[in-house]
Symmetry: C2
């Protein structure tokens, strides 16, 4: 919803901020505040604190969680109050806050996601105060994410295995004073119902106004994606919504499936002369979203005693099942108030470039701003939106539930109009032991209730994973010595909604935050550890030197460390994505953990280094997610002379089109020699269907190289060709006992 009325005028306030030990005690010092932003950044800037991203400097910010932060600014001068009103408009404050003028409390709220506005006409020219309480912390919790278990504050900032402990506070959303006509539009909520055959839509617009007498004229236009006016109606204000019908609406499709047709709704409040007194614009997209069962899933279970069939997780858009190639999105900044539209755009274009069509917005982080969803609408990227619950047991507590109720209603009301919004989800891993919530938890029943009441046509999941779905693993090589190459073909799930394969950040990123004397070899107790190379999940994650040394032997340099880590991350992710895709239609989703990161990590499962630098794994995953591509199922990563190499050829196709069949050469590069192991001519390619081809084999000779490269070369369609770089270990005794290994 944007404001297009010339009758409205915004004034950005000149904010200052300081801290004290209570809401009643004025700060000793005020410093200039950037709004939106975070109190930590304001204070750091004013006092010359070092960059929180470098080394362990973030620890110097810790004290700022526990103080009261006082914002102050001066409201604009008075207006003629019977003609115009002044509104203080705020998109959100992180986290528990009160707004005062002259000591009088005008507004108080716990919760960062619901916007608010206050008529401040009577307070024009006075000082407005916005006081932010200390970060919420459950009593008796250890200093970790469990401190967030009774609030709607995203848990991630309390510390995670890829996020430092740094809890933002402050005004994080756009905030201004707006001068409006006394009679103005408050909301114009456009909803639609598509006919079963999608050939028409009934569109409704519920208009709410302030200061406008009943019967005042309103005008509503809908403009199609080609800028053609679909309808243009006007009526007197009444309690009933305006209604219209759209025949043959241009549907919104996810990327790769069709166009992202977006309509524009324009609602105008007219004055007595027919002039526009106020205006509200909104963009809507017509699409039907459902979660449906994969075709074969009703067959299970086929034995007695008999449990339920697994729940559906196949997204169907406009009647078409969609295989979701995607990723888990996390906060792109530690301080969400600093995320700009450009930042979102840069990362979302990368996501689109990776051939992703769905992002899971993980419940440990924030709910993103309108910019994010507008961009997803435009790019055709579906959004799985979680509420801010993650890896905690959020209790059946009346105070907590009251805040969750208000925040969730605000979130759903704001986002439901976006065609990209495909799934609501209660939060992350709530039904696993480390959280301890269940289907009976009131928080999740409340969220299901609110989603049903406010957006009943969008699917709701209580958490991820649910029955049939799976998270993990987060390593290339499992504790039992098996690899993703063996584990994934044995797995049988309806959706892989988290899986990780860690890799180091690029060398130049590492150098940007690790002091030079700590750079190599990586050691615990250095910036490597504070930036998650060690002790992040298990002791050796996310750098995981033992796995690197298992395959490649001792590591000699930073560059070699990074190159080897990147190699495993690339081939690991390709294996998991492609294997998940091969399991279609029983499986319908492959989302790695994770896409991006909020600060520069030393090693992480991410595909993109902070702020928006693609790692080699990004390109590997983009290749593994092409809608049409050759793909190989390969039984292991590392080979040796005498092994019978084998690879099963597939042609993957997720698109709605039916291109002609192709011929694929299965080629293995041994040193400088290309050996064609098999040639496969596929059948005609059917929409949204894969083909399984031959298994090619070769007994491996001894070669000089440390790698062999398998390529599936698609004749006449080079864009569908795939290649896999596999380890070759000519000499079993690369790292005999006694060889120097890194001292970690």
């Amino acid at each position: 919803m944007s404001d297009g009325s010339a009758a409205r005028q915004r004034t950005v306030l000149d904010w200052q901020v300081g801290f004290s030990t209570s809401a009643e005690i004025a700060p000793e010092r005020f410093v200039p505040a950037t709004v939106p932003g975070a109190v930590q950044l304001d204070w750091a800037r004013a006092t010359g604190m070092p960059d929180h991203n470098y080394a362990d400097h973030f620890k110097q910010y810790a004290w700022m969680e526990d103080t009261f932060w006082h914002y102050r600014a001066e409201l604009p001068p008075a207006v003629e109050s019977d003609v115009q009103r002044l509104f203080f408009v705020c998109g959100g404050v992180d986290y528990h806050y009160v707004v005062r003028v002259g000591g009088k409390v005008l507004f108080e709220r716990e919760g960062m996601f619901a916007p608010f506005e206050i008529d401040v006409t009577a307070y024009a020219g006075q000082a407005i105060e916005l006081i932010v309480r200390p970060a919420p912390k459950s009593v008796d919790s250890p200093v970790d994410r469990s401190q967030a278990n009774r609030s709607c504050k995203p848990a991630v900032s309390y510390g995670w295995d890829w996020h430092p402990r740094l809890v933002p506070l402050g005004i994080w959303r756009e905030t201004f004073v707006e001068r409006r006509p006394a009679a103005h539009l408050v909301d114009a909520d456009v909803r639609y119902t598509l006919s079963d055959d999608l050939s028409s839509a009934e569109v409704r617009c519920a208009i709410t106004t302030a200061g406008a007498e009943p019967g005042r004229r309103v005008r509503w236009r809908l403009i199609d994606p080609n800028d053609k006016v679909v309808f243009d109606i006007s009526d007197g204000l009444s309690a009933d919504a305006l209604r219209a019908r759209v025949d043959q609406p241009q549907l919104w499709w996810p990327a790769g499936e069709g166009a992202q047709g977006m309509y524009r709704s324009v609602v105008e409040l007219l004055d007595d002369t027919g002039d526009v007194a106020d205006q509200r614009d909104a963009r809507i997209g017509f699409r039907r979203v459902r979660l449906v069962m994969a075709p074969d899933q009703w067959e299970y279970p086929d034995f007695f005693p008999k449990p339920r069939s697994r729940p559906p997780i196949t997204l169907e858009i406009n009647g078409r099942p969609i295989f979701c190639r995607g990723t888990n999105w996390v906060n792109p900044e530690i301080f969400p108030g600093t995320i700009t539209r450009d930042k979102y755009a840069s990362l979302l274009r990368l996501a689109r470039g990776a051939n992703f069509n769905l992002l899971r917005i993980w419940g440990g982080g924030i709910v993103n701003t309108p910019d994010f969803f507008e961009l997803c609408d435009e790019l055709g990227i579906m959004v799985w939106q979680e509420f801010p619950l993650a890896c905690n047991n959020y209790p059946d507590d009346a105070d907590y539930l009251r805040v969750l109720d208000a925040e969730s209603k605000a979130i759903v009301s704001r986002l439901r109009r976006h065609p990209s919004l495909a799934i609501w989800c209660g939060g992350n891993e709530l039904f696993n032991a480390w959280s301890g919530m269940t289907d009976q938890s009131k928080a999740l029943r409340l969220l299901n209730r609110n989603c049903y009441d406010l957006d009943p046509n969008t699917p709701f999941l209580p958490t991820s994973p649910i029955d049939g779905m799976a998270h993990g693993n987060y390593v290339f090589r499992y504790d039992d010595g098996s690899e993703v190459f063996q584990a994934m073909p044995k797995a049988s799930y309806t959706a892989y909604t988290e899986f990780g394969c860690a890799g180091p950040s690029p060398v130049e990123v590492l150098k940007s935050f690790i002091p030079e004397d700590e750079l190599f070899p990586p050691r615990r107790g250095t910036a490597w550890e504070t930036h998650h190379a060690f002790g992040a999940w298990r002791a050796t994650d996310w750098l995981n030197v033992p796995t690197l040394e298992h395959y490649f032997g001792p590591i000699e340099s930073l560059e070699q460390l990074v190159e080897r880590g990147e190699w495993l991350q690339c081939e690991g992710y390709k294996c998991i994505y492609e294997e998940s895709r091969r399991q279609k239609p029983a499986c319908s989703m492959a989302l790695n953990w994770c896409f991006n990161e909020p600060w520069p990590t030393a090693a992480n499962n991410s595909l993109v280094s902070y702020p928006d630098k693609p790692k080699p794994a990004y390109h590997a995953v983009a290749a593994a997610c092409r809608m049409t591509m050759a793909s190989a199922r390969i039984p292991k990563f590392q080979w040796k002379p005498g092994d019978v190499f084998e690879a099963e050829a597939w042609l993957l196709h997720d698109g709605p089109d039916a291109p002609p069949g192709v011929t694929i050469d299965v080629v293995l590069r041994l040193d400088d020699e290309d050996r064609t192991l098999a040639t496969w001519t596929t059948g005609d390619i059917q929409p949204n269907a894969h083909q399984q081809g031959p298994t090619a084999r070769l007994k491996l000779p001894a070669i000089a190289s440390d790698r062999i490269v398998l390529s599936l070369q698609v004749r006449d369609q080079p864009a569908w060709t795939s290649a896999y770089v596999l380890s070759f270990k000519p000499n079993r005794a690369v790292a005999p006992s006694g060889t120097r290994t890194m001292n970690l």
Copy 2:
């Protein structure tokens, strides 16, 4: 809620009923109507139709589904309308109906469970009409339960594998005209919140009145189970609920766990002189109910990729986990309007006598009347209450959802005050292939929403089975030749909420509805088949002669058929119940399919024959459900000479007490000789914990008898002794090829 006011006077109307082809066409003939009852029974009585329970006579009732039924009666004479009012009060009409006076529609509803009342003061002395539409049937459905898939009409009467096709219609609940003071109580809704430690309860009473001016005095008393007044407060009428606190409330416990303490709330509306103008009584019981995880269930899953942990299904009452020994309850009559409080009492006392503490009220049937829940409260029998959805795909259809919304709100509002009400559940087997609903189905999201809004402290399950739970099997011997003796120890579920083991009805029951010339041998196409001996589930169910002949050879007489069927049913059920119990605490529920039946079946999984005649299996199950008992895990049902017989001894104990340990002799009867195979002295018995004892073994000699009897004889506690009658087949060639078998 009962009405105790002397100021109210009820008049039972004198009803007649007839049928026609529309609501606008008067019937050609009226006959006397019994209210509550069913139009079918009225018409049959008046016209001399034969008993629907005998042979296939029910088929003669089929036409009555498809006509309009017109009830008529005369309202009582006028009252002084400023002092008194006349209310037409109706507990429920089955199913879609309109109420008219003088052709004017006063009320219309689809749905049989919501009661209604109409102020008919203005129509005193006039004729009232209540017109019932034809039974609801989905268009294009076959003539089976799927016709009920767009209504809240219980699906069972459209035909089930133990219920004939016979769809009741008519006024099925108590209906009368009541003379009330013009100012009277409409509702006095008592709710409570227990403190976490259960040591006190905050009690609230929301009073609604009609015709009473604000400030009118009300008095509220709470009387404890010993008839002691806990509090006696009075106040002026206001929008706020009355509030009081109960210290150390006497808690309500399920049977076997403690007393069923029930309090009585008395609310009086006082007149100006302080006299009682109107009164509402209610009984409440204080208890806290939760579904909790079994202790070891958080450990699962312990592998990657990792799905969720199984949902909780252990009922915890007042902080104590309870193993639920119970059964599935079905309509005790085809025509629910004929179920009396005595009928409920007879069957519920049998349920209590079977050591059951929970009844699952299966979603294919009706929601029972207040009598049922009052009796369950008194007897300590917990109720798992399903909404009327079963084995159909109830659609995301606005009209259907509107009816379900109203009906479910009425059901929850009425039943939530009963301490016996332990679980709300969406309906039966909705997440299996034959239904095709999913977690996304709007009907189930709506039910979860309404239960959360109206009764948030009672657990809600979308359906049975859910993940971790199981239904079935419904046979003693599986298609693969295995038996429940092998299948159940291999199963690993959190709850067995349906399992069946069919047996024939007693000989005298069979003779009551099967014509003499059809009695033996049982054949298809006779009353055996219409009463479910054949073709009910699979071709041979529920009589299942092939299984009987597999174990016992050719059957020579009706008496022998019944005796052998009863034997299998008894031992099968004992095996399943006791094995489920041995799997505690991972498993916490064992509920057989089913307890009772709505008409006399020829063979069925039921424990009690219609109307309330216990089958031998009833007594076997009662024994298998004793709170404390010796139990044997036995690897198979049929033994032969040379087999090494074995039996694993257990002591089962579900009670909260800790009796001293006991000594158990494991004794096998071989012909007339008792051989003691082992003697086991248990440890001290811990509350709610079993003990596993020795496995006793004996190489079996040849004996003369067709059976061996294993008994676990508990010294000094004969009530805990258990016995198992197992088949012995001395000669392998009992039924050689060519032997006469029944011609079925």
